[in-house]
């Protein structure tokens, strides 16, 4: 009887561990999914940034040569650069391994990272949308 109880307890512990690992992996996967979306947007961000850089350096048809137009361009460029910097900082710090940490610590860490990368995603989307709008206007 004692052996049966011990075996049952061990099964429960093992199942608990496996459940913890599943939860951690699911949360990590959701962070990575947003990260990959952000990385895809980084391509668009960089191309818009390069276009704005060119406009700032050269006088092109369609861009008024005024202080206001220059300030607008610089503002959009700063918005893109800030989003890019935030993403790069996050990438440098993010540690998906979380070796030796407790389940709760791992879950807390990934939750915080998910919030952070979601915020970066929003900032990046806003910067790309604003610069797209400006660049589209120039095409017309």
């Amino acid at each position: 009887m004692k052996k049966v109880i011990t075996a049952a307890l061990m099964c429960l512990v093992l199942l608990g561990c496996s459940d913890n690992k599943t939860q951690e992996k699911a949360l990590l996967d959701s962070v990575i999914k947003i990260h990959d979306k952000v990385m895809g947007n980084d391509d668009r961000l960089m191309h818009n940034k390069m276009k704005l850089d060119t406009l700032l350096k050269t006088k092109l048809t369609g861009v008024p040569d005024t202080a206001a137009a220059k300030a607008m361009l610089m503002g959009l460029n700063i918005q893109l650069t800030d989003a890019e910097d935030a993403m790069e900082k996050w990438m440098g710090k993010f540690d998906p391994d979380q070796k030796g940490k407790s389940h709760q610590d791992i879950m807390n860490y990934f939750s915080v990272q998910k919030t952070q990368i979601t915020t970066i995603d929003s900032a990046m989307n806003a910067a790309i949308t604003a610069s797209n709008k400006y660049l589209d206007q120039l095409k017309k």
């Binding site: 990260h35 990385m39 895809g40 391509d43 668009r44 191309h47 790069e88 990438m91 993010f94």
Partner: protein
Amino acid sequence: MGKAISAIAVILLLNACRFNTNDKKILPIYGNRQPVTKTVNGATVTDTIYQTIPQFKFINQYGDSISNKSLNGDIYVADFFFTTCPSICPIMHRNMLDVYNAFKNTPDVKIISHTIDPKHDSVAVLKKYADKLGITGNTWWFLQGKKEDTYKLSESYLVRKPQEDAKQVFIHDGSFLLIDKQKRIRGSYDGTDPKQVSQLIEDIKTLRSYPDEIKVK
């Protein structure tokens, strides 16, 4: 006995056919092309100018300057990555190790991996990353430089140019690009798929069997 000889003859014939098919395999040439008409010995001939990888200059994991000229006379595989990438890059480079191991003793085959996070991926970080993968020598270079330069170069490698509305991932899509000795794109492979990477290895062998008909400046 007669049957045995016939069977051997059939096997030999089939093998010979397979060998010939392999020999004749032509890899496509990717990208834009332009017809150019010129006069040779009084006759008008039309030639084709293919899209090629433009000039570039970066630094590798040893701190050496690497340009497009460093790859003259080489077939090479290019990809884009960053060392802290938690998703596809580790899978890509695990697969790229197969390419490295297949050609590490072949002088005219190289691999170049461009980091898209040069602020973090310094020369020292790239060297540590290469060491961790077990990379030695000059077959596989990890390159870093200005992020803008890498992104500009990626447009030539990836053929497609980003459209604002296109729901596609570009630089971070895990592609391995095969470039021939004339700097033309001859293949694009999903670096996360071992089967496609095996095909890449086969295609490099095929490419090596071609004569070097055009000299690169």
